[in-house]
């Protein structure tokens, strides 16, 4: 886990993970450790963990859909300014087409569809950006504290 303290009012932690479903529990563990360290409200923590895990799952399921055995890594960065939490995801998978990212009806439920709905319910904003090299995708989620 890397701690970045460029701005002393900001706390930031970043970690990378192999892009595969078995990494999701490590993503959750990392998130829980960071929220404990940042003293995030306990009632909010597990919701945030769910949103982070769903976003990481979407990278595995969609950005790397055709590459299940990839050795690529994805990175998760959690930054707390005191008033806002920013969670950024970085991956080198297939570029995200934002217009295609939407939830489905419940009777056509798939992890990516319901997962996206969960992210929308939990977070205040969702932004897809083009990643700075070497990254392809950069998803940024924010939540007011």
């Amino acid at each position: 886990m890397n701690t970045e303290v460029a701005d002393p009012t900001n706390l930031s932690e970043k970690k990378d993970f192999l892009v595969r479903s078995s990494s999701l529990k490590d993503v959750r563990s990392f998130s829980r450790e960071v929220f404990e360290k940042f003293k995030i409200d306990e009632d909010l923590r597990e919701e945030l963990v769910l949103a982070i895990a769903e976003a990481a799952q979407n990278i595995v399921k969609h950005a790397y859909k055709d590459f299940p055995d990839t050795q690529d890594r994805m990175a998760v960065r959690i930054t707390c300014t005191g008033k806002e939490l920013e969670i950024a995801f970085f991956d080198k998978g297939k570029p995200v087409e934002e217009s295609k990212v939407k939830h489905r009806a419940i009777d056509d439920v798939k992890p990516g569809g319901l997962g996206t709905f969960f992210i929308q319910e939990i977070m205040d904003s969702i932004k897809f950006k083009e990643g700075d090299k070497p990254w392809i995708n950069n998803l940024v989620l924010t939540k007011k504290l």
């Binding site: 999701l24 529990k25 959750r28 419940i106 009777d107 439920v109 798939k110 992890p111 709905f117 969960f118």
Partner: protein, 94 residues
Amino acid sequence: MKFKVTDSENISTVFLNGEIDMDIADDVREVIFPLIDSGKEVHLNLKDVQYMDSSGISVIVESSKRAKDKNTKVELKEVSQPVEKVLAMARKFL
């Protein structure tokens, strides 16, 4: 991953535990689907599930649909608080 299964007349109860995510969702399907396909009513005991994401919800929805097709049913039992929170959010999707 192994889950305890008990049988009582035509009801099978599957005791799920731990964290149900994409990584083990298929393991859960492999336990539940054959029980449904054999025509049994399936109860999912969720008291020891500490975390469930959309993959776990998908398994529940798929199981319920599959059971309906087989003229049987799936019921959730002793739902833990973390799972109840996720289910409540998923219900908004209905």
